[in-house]
């Protein structure tokens, strides 16, 4: 995680569910300094993101299907990147 914000009020109706809502900027470990904006996948791994979401926290990509032709990229907090690299060389 390179940076993040937390939204506390809905800017658009689509964002009303799940406030407060973090948005993260992630720097890709294997393609620095390329960065991507994404949502935080709060449904898995860590329930207490407000404690664990810090700059430098390792995250892994997940995919959120919105419509048949739109998929958004989210990120979930993980324990460490080394274990991911080992699983996905």
């Amino acid at each position: 995680v390179w940076s993040f914000i937390v939204l506390h009020r809905p800017v658009l109706p689509a964002f009303e569910a799940g406030l407060p809502m973090p948005v993260v900027v992630v720097e890709l470990d294997l393609a620095q300094p390329i960065r991507m904006v994404g949502g935080l996948d709060t449904g898995t791994v860590r329930a207490d993101w407000s404690r664990d979401l810090v700059i430098g926290a390792p995250v892994q990509v997940t995919f959120r299907t919105v419509t048949t032709d739109v998929t958004l990229v989210d990120w979930k907090l993980v324990d460490d990147l080394d274990s991911l690299s080992a699983r996905h060389p």
Binding site: W2, S3, F4, I5, V6, L7, H8, R9, V11, L12, F15, P20, M21, V23, V25, P33, R35, M36, V37, G38, G39, I55, V66, V70, L72
Partner: protein, 379 residues
């Protein structure tokens, strides 16, 4: 360059919401500026404004009774445009392309439906398709993303951001024309405010407001023929730093090196004054972190030192560098920074409501989170 000078300034009243249209506000502000300069509309032969300005030059010419226009130009990039409207007007005069140039900005943003992020097209085709769907929807969200990284990197704190907000408010409290003239702000108020985009709270954001402002430029050799002391356009530059992106600099490999850095190098090369000579600065402040970025970009302090630079009243009246002495965008009015230009002239004239003593030169900048510009005016 000193070849053109601002001899007239004008504004409308400022408010959250004004009944007049942007066109009517533009006409009023320009007429006040022309009266201030003692110049009739028929003498105007040049107009410069923002690409985001809604009133066309031919309409204004009809409204004001301007005769034939020989020069008109627009500067792109919203909050980055203001200083360049003056700089380009001054260049037109220096090049003999115009004799009397008006630069102006009129803006109605008090109503939420007038804000760009109220538009909700279904499909974004531009760079924003990579950030807006995730909730980085407003300018404040982009700046908050940079601000958190900046705070993490350099150790700046919310107390530093509060210093900026409180300083602007204290200056506005001295300025009867400011929207926040009669509304004090305490540090407790700042920390009690609601989040807008964490780590930025309500008071890290500028006002959304209605109003207009204008300046009149003439050749320097006739600048003393007008009622008020001239403010000479001493140095001007625009700037786009290498590998920067409009508002979304969090994609850049040099994310914390803002647009100001490129503008600063050229500005100071063209100026007889150095950053350390400047005692009063009007710094674009749509959001409090921008003031820290800009202080560093123009060398008023070192990289990463913007936060501590705001401590101990250093950016207030009586401090080392008085910043945003009319209240700025945070507490006077938000006109895409054009009110900062007006105040910069007042400091040269000696007529600010938060006047710095013995001002020789006056710095003013446009937004450094978009392609930008800056000016140094002098007595």
């Amino acid at each position: 360059m000193d070849r053109a000078a601002i001899v007239g300034i004008g504004t409308t009243r400022f408010a959250r919401t004004l009944p007049e249209s942007e066109e009517e506000l533009a006409v009023k502000a320009i007429q006040v500026a022309l009266d201030d300069a003692g110049i009739s509309a028929s003498e105007v032969d040049g107009l410069v404004s923002f690409t985001t300005e809604s009133t066309a030059e031919d309409i204004l010419a009809l409204d004001l009774g301007i005769g034939e226009l020989g020069f008109f130009a627009r500067v792109p990039h919203g909050g980055g445009s203001g200083c360049a409207t003056v700089g380009i007007g001054a260049m037109a005069i220096a090049a003999g392309q115009a004799q009397v140039v008006v630069a102006w900005r009129s803006r109605k943003r008090g109503s939420p439906t007038n804000r760009p992020w109220a538009r909700t097209e279904t499909v974004l085709e531009d760079l924003y398709q990579w950030s807006r769907p995730y909730g980085l929807a407003r300018p404040v969200d982009d700046i908050a993303t940079l601000a958190r990284r900046y705070m993490h990197t350099y150790g700046a704190t919310r107390d530093h951001l509060a210093n900026v907000a409180l300083t602007c408010r204290q200056h506005a409290n001295r300025n009867p024309a400011a929207i926040m003239a009669n509304t004090p702000l305490s540090r407790e108020d700042y920390f009690a405010a609601r989040w807008i985009s964490e780590p930025l709270c309500l008071f890290d954001n500028c006002l959304e407001s209605d109003g207009a402002a204008a300046v009149v430029l003439v050749q320097s050799d006739r600048a003393r023929d007008h009622p008020h002391p001239p403010a000479y356009v001493h140095a001007f530059s625009q700037g786009i730093s290498s590998e920067t992106l409009t508002m979304t600099n969090y994609y850049s490999p040099t994310a914390l090196r803002s647009q100001a850095w490129a503008c600063a190098d050229k500005l100071w090369q063209r100026s007889d004054y150095k950053a350390s000579d400047i005692r009063v600065a009007q710094i674009y402040d749509a959001f409090t972190p921008e003031v820290l970025f800009t202080l560093e970009g123009y060398g008023f302090c070192g990289a990463g030192e913007g936060g501590p630079f705001t401590d101990n009243g250093n950016i207030g009246l009586g401090g080392h560098l008085a910043v945003n002495t009319s209240g700025g965008s945070l507490s006077e009015v938000y006109l895409h920074g054009f009110n900062l230009i007006i105040e910069s002239v007042r400091q040269i004239r000696g007529t600010s409501t938060a006047q710095v003593a013995d001002v020789e030169s006056s710095f003013v900048s446009s937004s450094d989170c978009v392609p930008t510009g800056a000016l140094i005016l002098r007595k």
